[in-house]
């Protein structure tokens, strides 16, 4: 990550120096900083709205309600983990919070679920859980839509169906890969 960005600085400044355009490079850096500062308050406005809505959903018990609905699906995906009540609760809390975009609530539940699966010796299901968390299962792409809204999109959420299809394909590929890497056993 840091390497990619530092390389961009290094190579670009070096190229500007070779072309004798160091003044233009200096102007570009300042302009970029200004753009970032102009964009931040617009982004904050949208993110605050969605964080407030998320907080209400969390305190209103929406994540718990969703978790209960998810249990039959989780029994299919985690047959061994679902037999342990504590692990099933952690799994459903993790997935429910992820679907609502409540990352702060999802991580502790996810860690409890990983520990539970480890204790049960369900190594395959442990990898399934991790891949489920590295794929996005969020119902509404609030962050991407916030950025679009902050930059003047007329309908920031019109990308939602595309996000769903793309997430579903990625998740299917990830789960299939875990299965294959596990030698087809489950």
């Amino acid at each position: 990550m840091s390497f990619a960005i530092i390389s961009i600085y290094f190579v670009s400044i070096f190229a500007a120096f070779l072309q004798g355009e160091t003044a233009a490079a200096g102007a570009a850096v300042l302009e970029g900083t200004r753009e970032a500062l102009r964009f931040a308050p617009e982004l904050a406005a949208a993110l605050c709205l969605w964080s407030a809505a998320g907080e209400l959903l969390e305190r209103g018990g929406a994540a718990e309600a969703l978790s209960r609905l998810l249990r039959p699906f989780l029994r299919l995906l985690f047959p061994r983990g679902a037999r342990d009540a504590e692990t099933l609760a952690a799994l459903s809390e993790n997935l429910g919070a992820n679907m609502l975009g409540l990352g702060n609530a999802a991580t502790p539940a996810g860690i409890r679920a990983v520990r539970g699966l480890q204790r049960l010796g369900a190594r395959f299901e442990l990898n399934t859980l991790v891949v489920l968390n590295t794929a996005s299962v969020q119902l509404l792409p609030t962050t991407a839509a916030s950025i679009r809204g902050a930059l003047g999109s007329r309908s920031p959420f019109d990308i939602t169906p595309a996000v769903w299809i793309s997430s579903a394909l990625a998740l299917a590929a990830g789960l299939t890969a875990v299965h294959i890497l596990n030698g087809g056993r489950s």
């Binding site: 190229a15 998320g54 209400l56 520990r115």
Partner: protein, 165 residues
């Protein structure tokens, strides 16, 4: 969207939650999130301006263009795809810069938004889950997650081109 906010207020109120207090707590989280992203914005926005001013993207674009064209992915999203699994705030900053430069309702702007919205910071998630739970990584979750990211980027580009190309 106003309906969703209304629904959230009603469910929280029905449970006896202090709605005002919950909303201010949420707004604070939004501010803290922006605050945590701002340093990345301040480093990545100038980096990309600088890169464009250097004329290197055109040069590199000509070399890599056949590959991107073959895959059906806009070459402008190259850096975003590279950053996405590694850094959440870095990817957010890069996607923002792309969306700002090309416009939120342009094909490239939409592709960047869909890529960002349909993936997660895979390396970070794997590191947190395995280390916090004290479990050893058996070398299966990471390749599976990265394959999923690749599928996510390709399908994002294809779906956007189909819908808005």
């Amino acid at each position: 969207m106003p309906l969703l906010v209304l629904g959230a207020i009603l469910t929280a109120a029905a449970r006896g939650t202090d709605v005002y207090e919950a909303m201010t707590a949420g707004a604070k989280k939004g501010l803290l999130l922006t605050w945590s992203i701002l340093p990345s914005l301040l480093v990545i926005f100038p980096a990309l301006r600088l890169l464009r001013a250097s004329g290197l993207p055109e040069l590199l674009g000509q070399v890599l263009q056949p590959l991107f064209t073959l895959l059906g992915v806009p070459e402008e999203t190259g850096i975003l795809m590279l950053l996405r699994p590694l850094s959440g705030s870095g990817a957010l900053a890069e996607a923002s810069e792309l969306i700002q430069r090309h416009g939120p309702d342009s094909l490239i702007g939409r592709t960047a938004a869909v890529m960002l919205g349909s993936s997660e910071t895979s390396f970070y998630v794997i590191a947190v889950y395995f280390s916090a739970a004290g479990v050893k990584h058996d070398g299966r979750a990471l390749p599976a997650a990265l394959l999923a990211d690749l599928v996510c980027f390709l399908s994002s580009a294809w779906i956007c081109r189909l819908l808005w190309g």
